[in-house]
């Protein structure tokens, strides 16, 4: 679903978010009274150390995990008020995910991986496949459409993953270390594609990364430290 760029509107609103994990019998707090606002159409990079709670934040914003304390509102919908099924349907329709390890479905071809989200959103198989073919051709992967994930290079897999995340025009795109498993050249190409697609669709992008260079491709940079969010300048040192 295309959303027109409206950079000034608050699109994701996280307030007073706290989250604990119990590990080895010990309760561990990973997010502490966290507040975050993302505007519609902007791209935001989130830097943080390993185990600092970045992935947890993505899971909470996408409705993958239930919020323990605090509020998460995405596109006017309070995720905290939704049950698991409603959150699943919300995620299916409004959110696109990109992972470090691509996570393509191994038993589907590149084209079918992209068509899958369209079919899940109600498109017929034929329409979904046609749209997926177009997307692949547009980004130069037309000849790889019939290949399975295991037959694609890392860079190709990640490009297919981006197309899959954006195929249904989600309002919010969440990318978890999308370049972490790619070489520098492939990473740059992938980022270029990601930003271009996100901008074209007017989606909001939350990009989790360890790399300051990757973070600097975003409109804003945030860091997640000791469970809280800190706004940073684009030229800050990490």
């Amino acid at each position: 679903m295309a959303v027109a760029p409206q950079p000034q509107t608050a699109f994701v609103n996280v307030a007073g978010l706290s989250h604990d994990y119990v590990q080895g019998g010990t309760r561990q707090r990973v997010l502490h009274d966290l507040t975050l606002t993302l505007r519609r159409g902007e791209s935001v990079a989130l830097l943080g150390r390993s185990g600092g709670g970045k992935t947890t934040l993505l899971n909470l914003v996408s409705g993958i995990e239930a919020v323990q304390r605090g509020e998460v509102t995405v596109a006017g919908t309070r995720l905290t008020a939704l049950d698991e099924t409603a959150r699943t349907h919300f995620r299916r329709r409004h959110i696109g995910f990109i992972y470090q390890f691509f996570n393509l479905v191994p038993s589907l071809t590149a084209q079918e991986n992209i068509a899958l989200v369209l079919e899940l959103n109600g498109a017929s198989l034929q329409a979904a496949m046609a749209r997926a073919a177009t997307l692949l051709s547009d980004c130069g992967l037309g000849e790889r459409a019939g290949h399975f994930a295991g037959e694609l290079s890392g860079g190709e897999q990640q490009r297919v993953a981006i197309l899959r995340a954006l195929a249904h025009n989600p309002a919010l795109v969440l990318a978890d270390e999308p370049t972490g498993n790619l070489d520098a050249a492939s990473g740059q190409a992938m980022l270029a594609l990601l930003h271009a697609q996100v901008r074209a669709q007017g989606s909001t992008l939350l990009l989790v990364t360890h790399s300051l260079a990757v973070a600097r491709t975003a409109d804003r940079i945030l860091t997640l430290e000791q469970g809280g969010i800190h706004e940073r300048d684009v030229d800050f040192a990490w």
Binding site: T85, Y99, S107, L108, N121
Partner: protein, 844 residues
């Protein structure tokens, strides 16, 4: 934009496509699942089909002898006089009546059952016997009038063909010194004619001549209740009106119990298959957990994943069940021969081997196969549905179960075991006995992964410092995949325990039969009257005893006695019964009363079937009408038939004066020429009027045990098939582990381990699994044998058995488990040997 306002459509064709491709890519896994389910369904269908065919054969056999009667008039002693039949028709006007006389004859060396009947009365009775045309008019035309020909007989088609006879041919019938050259008047080829295989139908006058008897065994009737009452009131003294079928009740019960036992065994095989299905489906789910996690993140609902996994299983179950049903049809033909042979050995003298195709059994096989598959897949499907998208980061490696989950499973297993024992303690029905057995087995299955994990942990802890690295790795790998390998071990242990349980039961039974034969067969040689005559005459008895080198040790008397529970075989012994019976329950005072001529000893199956015990009273009919005897004791008896009891000799002779002994047990003196004595006895048997037999005890024992072994041949087949299913389970588990640890094994190869060492690691694991399964199968099998002996067989047949554990059965079980596991490990080990070390350096 609203979160839930419009839920998108649910076209899931790509999900199905992905599932199908996963199955196609893991072909070995899919084939193994398919083979497991198909084998399980095959066994159930084959046993059910064989059973239903045998059951139908049994019903037809009963019908072949009696047809659709309601009542019979029988004599309390001897035969029913011819005049009674004429008077019944004349005085009471009961037209639906016909005389019946039965005996055994030899026809060209083959033993056949001769049925004497009156063709015209049969037409009036409208008796429906299988093989005969159904309509009365047809009945007259098609066959029975043919009997009106002098010496005309009827034979079933196959029997006639086996004797090389066609209508019009002469059939030489022999009974001792009497013989008749009969003419085959017609061949019976009507519906279900197979049921009258081995029967010769002839006019009653011819049968009386051939058997040397007058009168009839019974007057068969088809009357309503009011007429029956009128007849009962009219009957002259010494005759009784009985309902038809009462004498068959025990046989029906026994044959049903036998078939229940077989069904239960086939269901055990399906249980083993269910474990295999669970194992393979859970493996398939575990392998796809990351993918399911991705799908969940993409917005696939949990219930969609649940349906997907259950749907896959249903499709697999359906395909495998179809294959299983087809295989079952083939196996059933083979099993039917074993089942009918067994039932024939146990219950009746003829075997009917016509295959009855039953579409209901096939449908039930399909439903059971699909149902069990879906049920076995339910837990893995729920696991798939519970996959949270975040689990991408925090899942346990496939096949690994948390210690908490292992303990939970073990707890559930203990609860099932407790439930099973409680159910056994309630002394409930046969079905409850089987339910308890299944609870016990399933409980053990849940306990096994925890036990195996504990044993491996202990082994590692105690011997770690002495273990080589490859052995350490083998044991640790096994432990880390305990979820899957534990279940494979459980499947193999259950299959092997069936061998132990049934083996111990059969061993105990065989031992009991040997002891019983030793106890009950007196002397060395038995001289027996085989037909239903008046026993061995005093003259013949003297002739036998005057033979040189012969001394009598026992005389056995036998006669049919009509009791409140139908006809039974009443026995008596000279000098007394107590030395020749294998007593089970006999208080001293009751025995003293029996020795003084009061009371009756009951055969255990008869006492069990009718719920009789010492102190109860048995009602029977004697010449004066109803009489009673207290039950003085119960003796072990492993003969089959409607029932048996032992009377004091004085009482027996009072009931049937002039009845000679039916069997004389003879001991040969030390100086006797055994061959000469046996030859003399056989010549005597052949030249005397009547049907006599001579058998050495050793031959009787050998034949009895041969029949016994033949009876249980079918269980060998079922046991082997159950092990086949478990073998598939182990192969599946090992192959999965080999596949999943491919990179780890490749790494070991890369750091210098040679292919032989890697293969030996795999084989070590399989041997440990086989050893674990073999050892765990022992207590499980012994528990199973205890239930089979003390509950199932006792409640099925009324037979008590001595417990005896043949050590070779236990050793054989462990070896079998080791062998099955070793064979199952060969292929994965060979694949590992071909593994390229380069795989270790490739990206995931």
């Amino acid at each position: 934009m609203s979160a839930t306002s419009t839920l998108p459509g649910s076209g899931k064709r790509l999900l199905w496509r992905a599932a199908w491709r996963h199955a196609a890519r893991h072909r070995w896994q899919s084939w193994l699942s398919l083979a497991g389910i198909a084998l399980g369904v095959m066994m159930v269908v084959a046993v059910e089909l064989a059973n239903s065919s045998a059951a139908r054969a049994f019903e037809l056999s009963v019908a072949a002898l009696d047809g659709n009667l309601t009542h019979r008039i029988v004599a309390q002693q001897g035969a029913v006089d011819d005049t009674v039949f004429a008077a019944l028709r004349r005085e009471l006007g009961v037209r639906a009546s016909a005389p019946s006389l039965r005996g055994e004859v030899l026809a060209d060396g083959q033993r056949l059952t001769l049925i004497g009947l009156d063709p015209l009365s049969e037409a009036a009775l409208q008796r429906r016997r299988p093989g005969f045309a159904l309509e009365p008019a047809q009945l007259l035309r098609a066959g029975l009038l043919a009997l009106a020909q002098p010496r005309g007989v009827l034979l079933q088609g196959d029997t006639a063909r086996a004797l090389g006879l066609e209508p019009g041919a002469v059939l030489h019938l022999q009974n001792g010194p009497r013989s008749v050259d009969a003419e085959l008047a017609a061949v019976l080829d009507g519906p279900d004619a197979q049921a009258v295989e081995g029967l010769v139908f002839a006019d009653i006058a011819l049968v009386q001549t051939l058997l040397g008897r007058s009168g009839m065994d019974s007057i068969d009737l088809r009357v309503d209740a009011a007429t029956a009452q009128r007849i009962a009131a009219w009957l002259p003294p010494g005759l009784t009106l009985v309902e038809a079928g009462t004498d068959d009740a025990a046989l029906v019960q026994f044959s049903r119990a036998f078939r229940t036992n077989l069904s239960a065994m086939s269901l055990l095989a399906l249980l083993v298959a269910a474990l295999l299905i669970y194992n393979t489906v859970s493996l398939s789910v575990l392998e796809r957990l990351p993918t399911f996690g991705v799908l969940r993140a993409l917005g696939v609902a949990p219930r969609t994943l649940l349906r997907l996994v259950l749907g896959e299983s249903a499709v697999l179950g359906l395909a495998a069940s179809l294959v299983g049903v087809l295989l079952g049809l083939g196996l059933a033909q083979f099993l039917l021969r074993l089942v009918t042979r067994t039932m024939s050995d146990l219950y009746f003298t003829r075997s009917v081997t016509e295959f009855a195709f039953d579409i209901g059994v096939l449908n039930r096989g399909l439903l059971l196969g699909v149902g069990i598959t879906v049920l076995a897949a339910l837990l893995p499907a729920l696991q798939a549905a519970r996959v949270a998208p975040v689990s991408l980061q925090r899942q346990l490696p496939p096949g690994q179960l948390s210690h908490r989950r292992l303990r939970q499973l073990a707890g559930a297993g203990l609860a099932l075991l407790a439930g099973g024992y409680l159910l056994l303690a309630t002394q409930a029905s046969l079905v409850a006995g089987f339910a308890a057995l299944n609870l016990l087995i399933f409980g053990c299955c849940l306990l096994i992964p925890w036990l195996l994990d504990g044993a491996l942990a202990l082994w590692l802890r105690l011997t770690l410092r002495w273990l080589s690295q490859p052995l350490r790795l083998s044991l640790r790998n096994l432990r880390s995949s305990i979820g899957r390998s534990g279940l494979a071990v459980a499947a193999l242990a259950v299959a092997v325990s069936v061998t132990v349980g049934v083996g111990v039961m059969i061993g105990s039974f065989r031992y009991t039969i040997e002891v019983w034969l030793d106890q009950t067969l007196g002397g060395e040689v038995q001289f027996t009257r085989l037909d239903d005559g008046a026993g061995i005459s005093p003259t013949l008895e003297r002739t036998v005893l005057e033979l040189p080198g012969v001394r009598a040790t026992n005389f056995q008397y036998r006669h049919t006695l009509r009791t409140e529970f139908g006809e039974v075989q009443a026995f008596a012994h000279r000098p007394d019964a107590l030395g020749s019976l294998y007593l089970k329950q006999a208080p001293a005072n009751a025995l003293a009363a029996f020795a003084a001529g009061e009371g009756v000893l009951l055969a255990e199956p008869f006492a069990w079937l009718h719920g009789l015990a010492v102190g109860d009273v048995l009602r029977y009919t004697d010449a004066t009408g109803d009489a009673r005897m207290p039950v003085a004791g119960v003796y072990f008896d492993y003969t089959t038939g409607p029932g048996a009891l032992e009377l004091p000799l004085a009482r027996f002779q009072a009931l049937w004066p002039g009845q000679g002994p039916r069997q004389i047990s003879l001991e040969l003196t030390d100086d006797a020429d055994r061959a000469a004595v046996l030859g003399a006895l056989r010549r005597l048997a052949q030249t005397t009027d009547g049907n006599f037999g001579v058998a050495a005890n050793a031959d009787i024992e050998a034949i009895t045990l041969a029949i016994f072994d033949r009876t249980f041949a079918i269980t060998d087949v079922l046991r082997l098939l159950a092990i086949g299913v478990a073998f598939v389970g182990v192969l599946s588990a090992l192959s999965a582990q080999q596949l999943q640890r491919q990179r780890e094994y490749a790494l070991l190869r890369a750091v210098g381990m040679d292919s032989g060492q890697v293969a030996r690691m795999m084989l070590t694991q399989t041997l440990v699994m086989g050893l674990g399964a073999g050892l765990l199968a022992l207590p499980l099998g012994l528990m199973m044998s205890q239930v089979l002996i003390d509950v199932i067989n006792l409640r099925s047949f009324g037979w008590s058995m001595q417990h005896r554990v043949p050590l070779f059965v236990l050793g054989q079980a462990v070896l079998l488990a080791l062998l099955a596991a070793l064979l199952a490990g060969m292929y994965p080990a060979l694949r590992l040997m071909r593994l390229s070390p380069a795989l270790a350096s490739r990206a995931q």
